[in-house]
Structure formats: structure tokens, C-alpha cells
Amino acid sequence: MPRTIVPIGPYHPLQEEPEFFSLTVDGERVVGIDVHLGYNHRGIEKLSEMKTFDQATFVVERICGICSTSHPFAFCQAVEDIFPMEVPERAKYIRTIIAEGERIHSHLLWLGLAGHFLGYNTVFMWAWKLREEILDVMEILSGNRNNYAMFRPGGVRRDIKAEDIPVVLKKLDSIVPTLDMLRRAVMDDPVLHARTKGVGSLSKKDALSYGALGPTARASGVARDLRKNCSYAAYDRVQWDMIVRQNGDVFDKLVVRVLETFESIKIMKQCLTALPSGEIDARIKNVPPGEGIGHIEAPRGECFHYVRSDGTNRPARHKVRAPTFMNLPTYKATIVGATISDATIILAAIDPCYCCTERLAVRDTKGTRLYGGEDLVKLSQEKTQRLRKELGVG
């Protein structure tokens, strides 16, 4: 069998993670998957070694456009771990608020895209409209809709003004009913159940052996959340629940993300109400030689940074491990045996970026039939239409 891989669909270097998946199929069934990475390797680890500790924070902020605050968060914790030192209490709360706001908008973004892949463009519109509200909140708090530039080793760069807090609290409260409507619409829909339940199941055993992280692992019954287990910032000072589901299919991954959004709003509100007064920056001067590790729970799972300092003002080595690096290989366990029309949503279920699914080609073991990203989204949407008719809905 000749192994030719044809990339179909637009190349999106503007969006992060342009991976290339080649699916080997036998008729409708997927029998194998191979992932190619590195189309947009930017050499951030090397670049970071040429910047000072303060500058590197901004470099790592640009690793991901969606979870832009997770990387500076993990990096700052890694630098603080070299000492080791604690940041001021107020900075801890502000960090928590920013990180949770980001989780809400990231989960909503995913929910919208998942809706689009399944042919539910109404979900896409609703989720992204709601996401705008959160982006407004982030603009009030940090001055930016994304890439908040709030973090620095030793604390945060910008204080939250007292007069902004009631405005933000009101806005968060106003989101909850709409979000609840969206939750019911998504979780009670019979077509969506038929479309996502039992699809792309990741067993607990596989989740553990692949080292799956975040919602991908928690949907498979792995009760691990760094915010609970290895508490950092202000997470141990607020009341919230870890969302764990057991089946590991696309539906459970969806439910985990939707329910986590509510928990994040809870955390944000508690932190804003209980925000202690005081310094926001420990003003660290010299980073001593040594090594440090920072890890935080990003929207997609644990974000891990290892930093080594040789006593100068630049990191001697900076290793970045994004959560998708561990979540991507779980495709080997989830996609084999599924149909091509389910491939898009299974690949999207771990919450990689949009272009990951865009750059996907299908090769038949017998013929040379090939699909590009758009064809696959269409296939997926057609299956939902078919199910709708069968179930007599809409």
C-alpha cells in the first residue's frame, strides 16, 4: 500500500497548532491515524533563552491565543519556584480571577466550535455571543480582550480597581441565566445524545497511560485537577467543585466543559468579593541560580514549565509543555473503529485548535478517495441531519 499523504484544505499559519492528521480508513471505518506536527514550530524555548525573565513572560503569552494567560502563569510560578518564594495575597487573587475568566471564554469557544462541527450553528452563535460578554469582562479587568499581559514573576502588573468590581460582578451574574439556557439546550437534546454518546470513548486506563490532562482526563473518570490537588494561587481559599464524569466519550467531555464554566464563574465571583488589599508585586530583583517548575491547570489541562537559571537575568533553559502535547496522542485510542463522519468531533473533543481539524485528510485503503477538512465537517453535519430526521426532531 503506497503511503501518500495529501494535505487538503487551507493552511492556517495564523491559528496555532496546524497539525496534520492522516487517517487510514477501510470503507467507513477508521483503522489507523498518524499525526504530523511542527508546521508552525516557532522556537519559543530558544527565543525565551535570549530574553530577560520579564520579557520572556510576554513571549510565552504569545504561545497560545486562546489560553494566553496559562503560559505566563506557569512560567511565573516556575521562576518563583527557583527562589522559592510566595507572591502577595492580592496578586494571588488577581491571578485566579484572570485565569478563570480565560477558562470561561476558552470553554465557550470550544462549545461553539463543537456545535459547528455537529451542524448546530445556533449553538455556535449563542456560545460565541456569550463569549463576547466574558471578553468584555476581561477588558474591564486587564485592558485587553485577550493577551492580558497581567503576569510578571513575583506578582501581577496591573491592579483591579475597586470601582470595576461591581460592574464585573453584575456582568457575571447576567451571563449565568443565558449559560444555563445553553446548558439545557445542549445537554437535553436527543439528537446530540445520539450523536455524541458512546462516540470516541477514552477509557480510564488509556487516559492514565497516555497521561491525558484536564477535561479530557476528567471526562474519563480521572479525578485530577491541579487546582484541587496541587493548589496554587487562591484556589484553596474558595469553594468550588471538581467536575468528573465516567464515560470518556464526546458527550462527557462536553458536559465537563459546560459545567466547569459555571464553577469558574463561582470562583471568579468569590475572588472578586473577597479580594484582599495590599501589594500586588513582590518586586523580585535577581533570580538566583537553580531550577524551578511551574504547573497550572489551563483550560485544556496541565500547562508545565521548567526553567533553569544560571544567575544571570535570562533563563538558561526554558522547557514548555502545553496540555495538547499529552492529549493529542489519545487519538490513537479514541478514533480507531469510529466512522469518518465522527472523526471531526472526536478530534475536536480534546479541544485542540480549529485548524487541527481543518488539516485532516482521509485515505482509503482500497481506493484513493480523499476528504479535506471542509468535507469532513460537512459529513459530520449531514450525519446530524440524518439523525434529526430519524428521531423526528426539527
Binding site: P84, G211, N229, C230, H295, R317, R321, F325
Partner: protein, 157 residues
Amino acid sequence: MNRETVLQDLRKKFSGEIVEFMEKSPKRVYIEIKKDSLRKWASYMIKDLGARFNIASGVDSRAHIEVLYHFTLEDINLIISLRVRLKKTDLEIDSLGAEYPAANWIEREIHEILGVNFKGHPDMRKLLLSDDWPEGVYPLRRDYKEWDPNAIRDRGV
């Protein structure tokens, strides 16, 4: 399970395999190990202690290439990093990728950027670098000087 008993057990069980045992802080422990005992360590960490393999980081510290294997024990909020120092003339170490899928990709990455050979790795293709990247050139080494005027990557286009 608590931190003290875990660390005591490690010292006792691997007394002959430890080069340096450093308790940096209550949450971080770095253990330099002999490179031949890596598989034994990994098996004990993952299977017996139930630790989660975070990732490995490769570091070129000029005299050596270091590979650190980070494990998280979530129940007791502890990260144990196993450090292996490799001489630049002998960059070979046992692969964990065959037994633990979580280590598969990172070993491919360290192999191509630092030139560490992972013995027994099931699939040592390139992960991040392009397929036409020259053999034996490792971009994250301190002595990396490769510059090719014809290559797009070096013209900065």
C-alpha cells in the same frame, strides 16, 4: 501515603542508584540517578506510586546533556524530577516510550533537538523538525552554528 514515607522508601529501595538526592522545597524533589536504572525508577514511580508522568526536559549544560523526567504525585502535591546526566560522547539511554505511551512523543522531540538516542523507542521519526532537516544537527545544543544561506529557515523569511 505522605511525603516523608515516599521519600524514605525511595532512598531505601534505590540506595545504590542515587547519585544526588536534593529536596529543594516541600513540593519539589530532584533526584540524580544512574542512567542504567532509569527503567526501574520509572516503573516504580508509575506502577507502584501511581505517579503521573508530566514530561521530560532535555538540557544542554555544556559539559553534559541532562534529561529530567518529571513525575507528579498529585495526592501529596509533590513533583519528583529524576535527573540523568549523559556524557556528550555517550548519549544513549533506555527508552520509556515503548512501555509508557505518555513518553513517546517527548523522546522523539529530545532526540531531534538534542541528539539523545533512546534505546528501544518504537517510532523514532521526526516530530517537530521538517523532514529535510540535516542528520546530526541539533538545534538546541549550545554549540549549534548551522547556518545555510539557501535554507528558508536560516534566511528568516
